[in-house]
Symmetry: C2
Subunit: 552 residues, 2 copies
Amino acid sequence: MRRVPGRLHRLGVADGSIKKSRIVLERMVEQRFEQISPADFFYRNRDIAGFSNPSRSLYMSIRELVENSLDACEIGRILPNIWIELTQVEEDSEKDVRTYRLVVKDNGVGVEAEHIPKAFGTILYGSKYGFKQSRGTFGVGGTMALLYGQITTNNAFKIISSTGKKEIHEYRLMIDIVENKPKILEHKTYPNENGWHGTVVDYTLEADYTNSKSKIIEYLSKTAVINPHSNIVFIDPRGRLYVFARVKETTPEPPKEAKPHPLGVDVETVNRLIANTRSRDCVSFLMNEFQKVGRKTALDVLKLANIDPRTKVKELTFEQVTALVDAIKAYGRFRAPDTSSLSPVGVEFIEAGIRAVYDPEFLHVVQRPPASYSGIPFIIEAAVAYGGNIPEGEDIHLLRFANKIPLLYDERADVSWKVISEKIDWNSYKVPKVKRLAVLTSICSPKVPYKTVGKEAISDRPEIERELTIAIRECARELRLYLSRIEKGEAVKKRLNVYAKYLPKIAKFSAELAEKPLPDLKPIFNKLGLTEKVIKEVAAEEEAEARELYGG
Amino acid sequence: MRRVPGRLHRLGVADGSIKKSRIVLERMVEQRFEQISPADFFYRNRDIAGFSNPSRSLYMSIRELVENSLDACEIGRILPNIWIELTQVEEDSEKDVRTYRLVVKDNGVGVEAEHIPKAFGTILYGSKYGFKQSRGTFGVGGTMALLYGQITTNNAFKIISSTGKKEIHEYRLMIDIVENKPKILEHKTYPNENGWHGTVVDYTLEADYTNSKSKIIEYLSKTAVINPHSNIVFIDPRGRLYVFARVKETTPEPPKEAKPHPLGVDVETVNRLIANTRSRDCVSFLMNEFQKVGRKTALDVLKLANIDPRTKVKELTFEQVTALVDAIKAYGRFRAPDTSSLSPVGVEFIEAGIRAVYDPEFLHVVQRPPASYSGIPFIIEAAVAYGGNIPEGEDIHLLRFANKIPLLYDERADVSWKVISEKIDWNSYKVPKVKRLAVLTSICSPKVPYKTVGKEAISDRPEIERELTIAIRECARELRLYLSRIEKGEAVKKRLNVYAKYLPKIAKFSAELAEKPLPDLKPIFNKLGLTEKVIKEVAAEEEAEARELYGG
C-alpha cells in the first residue's frame, strides 16, 4: 500500500477536517447495488418510451406497430396494405380507460420464424441497427408496445408471420422482463399455400381511446399523406371505418445501407470497423470502410496521423487509432456525404401536400444539400406557407416529419421549434404579429437524433440546427419579398387611387380657370398605369361616399 | 402441420390476392437481427440521455455528477461539500468546442471498492433502484457522463473513493461499450489515515463552456437554494471561483425506503414481491409487502379475488395473481400512501426562496397531501407569485423542481407547462395579459416519471397532472382574491375621492343657500372611511389641476 500522494492532499481527499462525520457514517446503511436488464429499465420507466398514460400509450402502440409495418414493406419494395383493428374487450363502463384488443396486420417482408420470439420479446433486439434510413431505430418501440400490453392486462400476445416461404408461423409469447427474454407459450405452423408474406400482431392493452382518437386519426392521415403509396385501414372500437387509400402505385426507392462518413466518427466506431474489416493495410481500410475517401485523401489523413500507410490495420495500437481519429477530425477537406442512402420527401411532394391542406397564398419549399453530424448524413427540407386556410393567430403552425413519419407530441422540445422561435426574427421578414403562417420541417437520415425513445422531438445537434435555420431563412426571405410586393402593391394602388380621384377634378378646375376645353386625361392615366377599371371603381366609391354623406 | 384456420382467412392472411409481390420478395435481402447492450444503446443514442451537443453535454455531465454527490451525502446524513473544477486541456483555440478536464469531488458515503468499476463503468448498474426518493434514478447518468468523455476524448477516467474505512481506492477505467462492462486499467490503494469518505471523479471530455456557462451557473445556484445545507464550489476554466455557501447547518431527514402502495401495482411487481417475500400465506403477504394494508383490507381484497386467505403465496397460479391484481385495482378503499418516504421541499422554504429572488407583492404556496400513481407516492408543491421583481411579459415564469433538483431544459415538454398553459384559464383569475407572474412547481417521489433519461421534463401522468392542477388553481384563487381586493380598493378609493372633492363644495353651497353656518364634515368623512390624509391629497390634486388650467 502506498502513501497518500500530494495530489490527493491538494484535492482535500486526505485532510483531517472531516473526522466528525465518521460517527455518522458508522450508522450508515450499506448501499445495495444491482444491475437491471433493458426490458426491466423500460418496464420501470415506460414514460421514457412515450407510454406515459392510457391515451398516449394507445397512440404510441399504434404508431410503433404501423411504423414497423411500413418499414417491413419498404425494404421489400412492397406497396403497403396495413390493417389496424381496435376493439373493446370489456363491456361498456363509465371510465375512459378500458381493455382493448389491438390487431395490426401488414403485407411486409415478414420475420423469419427463428427471429420472431426475440424480435418481439426482447428489448434492444432488432434489424435496424445498420446504417440505413428507417422509421424504427431503437429496437424498443414494437416490443415496448407488447410489454405495455402485458403489464396492463396480464395477457400473452400473438404474432403471426411469414416471409412468403412454405410456412406461416404463429407464436403466443410473453416477455420475461427481468431476463429481457421471450417466453414461448405456443408455436404453431400452417402451410402457406398462397405465398403470403407479412406480419400480424394481436394483443390486449389498457387504453383510453376517447382521449387519443383525434391524435390517432391525425397521425394516420399525416402518415398517409407522406406515404401516398400506402393503403391504411383503421377500424375503431365504435366500428367506424377509416380508409386512407393509396394514391400512388409505385414504391419509393428503398433507402440503402451506407458506409459511415469520416466526419465525426469516434474511436469506438473506428475500432468496430477495424474488427470487422477485410482490408489489410490502413489505406485500403480507409478507402473501403468509409464513404467519400479516395486514395489521396486516405494518404493525406494517414500522414496527418503520422501512421505508415502500409501498417496492417488490425495491428494499430490504441494510441494510433486515437491519432487517426484526431487526424480525421482535423482534416476538414472531405467531400459531402453520399446522399444515395437518403430518401427525402421531395420538394414537389411537400408542395402538393401543403397546397392540399392549406391552399396558401404563398408557399416556398427548400431542400438543402446533404450535410452530416457525427459522420451521419442527413437532408433537411423546409417549407413556409402564408395565408389561405392556415388558422390565424400569434403562433406559427409547425408540421414536423422525420424519415416520413409525422411527429405530433412534444413540439416545443424539438429543434425545429427552437429554430422558428429563437433563431428566426419573423419581424425582420415583415411578418405581422397576427398571421396565417405555417412552417413544415422534414429530416431524413439513417439516424435521426431523437431526444426520446418515444421519437417525438429531435435534439438540437448544431449541424441540424444550422441546416434548419438556413432552410427556413431562405423560405422566409422569399416570404419577405412576397409580403413586400403586396405592401408595395397596396401603396401603389393607394397612390393611384388618389390620382384617379383628384386628377379629373384638378383638370376640370384648371380648364375652367384657363377657359379651355377639358383635356383628354386617358394618356396620362395610361402613363401612370391606371386602368379604366380602377378609374371606374374610384368613381363608384366617390359616388357611394357622397350618397352616404348627403343622402342618395 | 395444420390447415390455415378460418381466423387467418378472415384476417386476409391466406388469401390469394398478394401473389404478385412474391417475385419482388425473392430479390429481397435478408434482414440481419442483432442484440445490443444498454451501453451500446446509449452510445448510439446519446441525445436520449441529454448529451446532444458539446454545450449541453457539459451541463449534463456536471449535473449528473453533482446529483450523485448530493445523493451520496444525503443517504449518510452528511453536510455536503462539493468541489467542481473545470480546466481547459487544449491550448487556446478559436473554437468554442475544446477538450476540458472535469473533476467533481464530494464528501459522501463513498463506494465500496468492489462496486467502483461497475458503478462507474456499467450502464443500468446502480444503487438507486430501490423504492426511495433520490435525485438519480436510472443508473445511467453518471456512467453516461464518463462514456461521453471516453468517446469524445479517447481517455480513461479516474475514480478515487473511500467509504471511510482503512483504504482509499483509485481506479483508472474505460468502458467496454459492446459488452457494457468496465475495463480496469489500473487499481491503486492508499492508507486512509484520516478516515476520509467520499468520491472523486476525474476525466476529460469535449465540451463547450462558452455556451453552457449560464446554464451551469443557473443550475448550481438553484441547486444551492433548494439544498441550503450544501457547500458547492465551482472553479471555471477561466479561473473564476463560484462559491455557493452553506446557509443551514442541519441535514434534512433522509428519505426512507418504502414498501409499494397497492394502488396501481401490476402482475410483474406482485410476482417480484412473491419471489422475495418471507410471508407464507396470502394475508400476511399483503400485510407485509404493501404499505397501508391491514388485516381487514387484506381479507377484503382476497375475497374480491376469490382466493382462500390461507393459500400459500408462493403457490398462487398465474391466473390467481392476475385475479389478485384485478381485485387490488377494483378495491378502491386503500388509505393514502405513506408520506414518510417522501421529503418535500416545504412551504416555508419555498416561500423564503421565492421572496429572496422575486420579492413579490403576492405569494401563495400550497403543499398537497400525498397522492400516488401506479402505486408510487408523490407530493406536489406549488407556488404562485405576482409582482415584485418578476420580469413583466405575456409569459409566465415557470420554475420546476423534482426531488430537489432544478429542471432547466425542455420546459415546454413538462406536465407543469401543460397545466399552466392548458388547464388554468388565467383570465378567469383576473390576471392581465401582460403581467409579472411566476409559478413554481415541485414534485418529490421515489420515482419521478421523467420523459427523458436526461431528467428534464416530467410526463403527464393523469394523477400528477391532477394534483398540479388542484395546487395551482388553489394558488390562483388566492391570487384572484388579491387582485380583486386591489381592484376593489381602487374603485373604493375613486368613489371616496369623489366624495372628498364634492362634499365640501356641496356643503358650502347648501349652507350659503340655507344661510346657515358651514357644518362639520368630519363625522361624515369618518363614517365614509375618508381619512384626513386622503382629503388633503384630494385638495392638493384639485389645486394642482386648477393651476394647470388657469395658470399658477
